[in-house]
């Protein structure tokens, strides 16, 4: 290259010339953000994205600088009013979390400090290590389990199943791949297990057929007799069962598989027990819920999220693994440029990349650390308990109302129900309930999503929201009944 593009000097920066302006913008953002949160209850849960936003979000790449303040003003105008809605007190869609104010500041501080939490002595690594110890304490796990924070249970499931796959196969899978396993590996989960399990199984090269979807009982729990029979059949067919997935809190109904029985089966058959506890595992914080959850700690690995039922902003999840050495063996590499030569300040440091997929890792531990300190384990326990009781409150309201019916047992914080009237056919009821969900979403008073149970759509409410009050659930039932009746009166509309 010639020197025709050589810059005039080599001392430019993207830091602001005028720090005062950016600082003022920071203060303005803090005010706007807290204003929004304080006034949230009086706003619609959700608004459609207007044409003006769509146009502004469809313009060409900006080549010349517009400046920070102008960029923020576009955000306020075109983006921030049109969110998904999950911070709102009356949002109960898709098991989305509702956000914690101090967690928001935690992500600000994490981005400011900006470490890659990977190796080399620094306090961010120690904070993540401490958070992982705290989370094991919270969920009653021994400290001998290895652990790592992740972007969520999708990633946690992949990590756990990769370790299970590599450990249980009779061959060196890291070097030889699945071809090194003399028999085809198969694993088991209920028909209600989460789609991320299927995605993990496919990613790992096992193929979705390897995931045996075992039917559930009337309470949406994995059927143990069928599970046992299927494992027997697979073994007799020359396949190698290696893992059973138990779910604590299914996404559809919040059902909890019988962990004690699953652990017995796995112990007897030398299988890995992975527990997907994405939101449900957090109910362990409430001592009175523990009998319903069962012996979580018998799992060989556990996946759970803190951005769902611990209300933290997206993203933060976690995975625990019993066999810490195998966990490390699955993911550790020694790159020459990261090799542990006698660098004084790298010895004894946890290399997080040895326990997961990512080498660059953001400091998501910080918001967890701040919020656990600020609210205490107690704060989360009380709030989770409240959500469980809110689900029961809603259940009771539904049972007291003649136009709505429960569609599944309520075991945690998920309530599935339908608008129903004796004169309606099941098909008409299906269509009516989908329409009720859509109308409620559009009106923005309350926000539920739907799911399909026994082939029929039902209204689903997942309560991982620390802003909801009991009156919000009164409102929900009222809205469902109102919309249902209106639709009944004018079915063609």
């Amino acid at each position: 290259m010639n020197t025709s593009h050589q810059p005039e000097n080599l001392d430019q920066t993207l830091d602001p010339e005028d720090w005062g302006e950016l600082r003022a913008l920071g203060h303005r953002i803090i005010d706007d953000l807290f204003d929004d949160l304080q006034m949230l209850r009086d706003q619609p849960v959700w608004r459609p994205v207007p044409e003006s936003s769509r146009q502004q979000l469809d313009v060409e790449l900006p080549v010349e600088p517009e400046g920070a303040t102008a960029a923020y003003e576009d955000f306020r105008r075109y983006v921030s009013p049109y969110s998904r809605g999950n911070n709102h007190p009356r949002f109960w869609g898709w098991v989305n979390g509702s956000g914690l104010p101090l967690g928001i500041l935690g992500d600000l501080l994490a981005a400011g400090m900006n470490p890659s939490v990977s190796s080399f002595e620094n306090a961010a690594n120690l904070v993540e290590e401490q958070v992982l110890r705290w989370l094991k304490q919270l969920l009653g796990f021994p400290q001998t389990f290895s652990a790592i924070l992740t972007s969520g249970s999708s990633m946690s499931n992949i990590i756990a199943l990769a370790v299970a796959r590599n450990l249980k196969a009779c061959g060196d899978l890291r070097a030889g791949g699945l071809a090194a396993s003399p028999r085809r590996l198969v694993l088991y989960g209920s028909a209600e297990s989460h789609s991320s399990i299927q995605k993990a199984v496919e990613l790992l090269g096992l193929g979705s057929e390897a995931l045996r979807r075992i039917p559930v009982d009337a309470n949406f729990r994995i059927d143990l007799a069928t599970l046992n029979a299927r494992i027997d059949a697979d073994q007799q067919a020359g396949l190698q069962p290696f893992c059973v997935i138990g779910t604590v809190g299914t996404v559809n109904t919040g059902a909890i598989d019988d962990l004690d029985q699953l652990a017995d089966i796995c112990e007897r058959r030398n299988l890995w027990l992975h527990v997907d506890g994405a939101f449900g595992a957090l109910a362990w914080l409430c001592p009175e819920m523990r009998p319903a959850i069962g012996p979580l700690q018998r799992a060989d690995s556990l996946a759970f999220d803190l951005h769902k039922w611990m209300y933290l902003p997206y993203d933060v999840g976690c995975v625990f693994v019993r066999d810490a050495a195998e966990h490390r063996r699955t993911f550790s590499t020694t790159a020459s440029y990261l090799a542990v030569a006698p660098m004084h300040h790298d010895a004894g440091v946890q290399h997080f990349a040895d326990y997961g997929i990512e080498l660059s890792r953001r400091f998501r531990a910080l918001k967890v650390w701040l919020c656990l300190k600020a609210h205490g384990a107690r704060g989360f326990e009380c709030q989770i308990r409240q959500n469980v009781w809110q689900a029961r409150y809603l259940e009771a309201r539904i049972q007291a109302q003649r136009y709505v019916q429960l569609a599944a047992p309520v075991s945690l914080n998920v309530v599935c129900f339908r608008f129903a009237s004796p004169e309606l056919s099941p098909e008409t009821t299906d269509a009516l309930n989908l329409e009720i969900v859509a109308r409620m979403q559009e009106e923005g008073v309350v926000f539920a999503s739907y799911t399909v149970l026994h082939g029929r759509p039902v209204i689903r409410v997942a309560i991982t929201n620390h802003r909801s009050r009991h009156e919000d659930f009164d409102r929900l039932v009222g809205e469902v009944v109102r919309h249902g009746k209106e639709l009944l009166m004018a079915p063609a509309a």
Copy 2:
């Protein structure tokens, strides 16, 4: 469960009782954060973590609340002063990014808005779609490529290689797994390709043996003759070559593989060309660098990071895929609770989970959107160009100094060199250079890391820093020479 744990009311929240206190804390955080950034140049790059921090980061789980302000004060005391150092003007270790002030505020806003960027009509989805279009424009890619933001190139590499694996195999890999491929799948990368490629290959069940590590030439570029010969040999052995990985900017020396030749080979042999451009791809922003990079757009997939050479805070990376339909086919699932029934506000929305591994996805697009608007593509172009010229400036300084020697050609923003003196044996020189790196890190004036080239440790400087000035590189050379001479005088110390 009985009612003995029933809460007194169902209306508690983790929002603050006194918003004023939290708001004041937010303002204080903004001030502290910008104070830190403004004064960064006068601080040490890195400090060891003191015993007081270690003790505070080794206490039990807090059960009772300490409050937000107390939590933040502990952060200021025990955590924030002891970072990894990568925001600092004189940090050039491990290809870590240096952070953008507006990017920090972007992560604040993303955590505040707190969407899961997955589905359903909302502005966050549209922002990510726009950012992806902008990134394709920035790198000269047609809009027909599919794309998704990721946590970084580790994840981007996994996504790209999963699509390549599923598409190129002669069988239904999603359903049947690798067992559905009649022949063993193998792929190719240079000996200098990144460790995350090996991790991806292992995760995908291919086994690290399937990754053929082709030797490099004197410029650390993949040797094309050897590559061709190896592909021939594998085909003759009944294996199925399916992918070649080109690197734009190797982690060790910043070398750029010959993309045109690799694309020809892949086209002729019907192989997938994946390009790992983690940091190097961004040099495309400078038109004069394009001949050196080669035809990036001939790739079937490209992985790159915005938290490295676009300076954004961790984490944000991206992947492009030529075959958008196959990209979707690899990852899309239809879960009943997410099934696209006639919900008015989900039709036409990009379901990002169909293009990656994660269902819950944080709003990492926002900081990219804000910073591209505020600084313009031009701002990034100028800054990347400056880093390239800073590398040349450093190269010239090294060549002008008799005690230091270049250890590899400088093609982008990475400079590898050694302290050297004619009377020293290679082994003594090795030990001396490692000791120089360690001493510099400890003193905190300049921060470089090391790598191993041709079996010998060298000092490596990776310039993805928008705060460095030319004088900082003078200082680096001065420090290397000073430490080297001091160590020569007192080698036993």
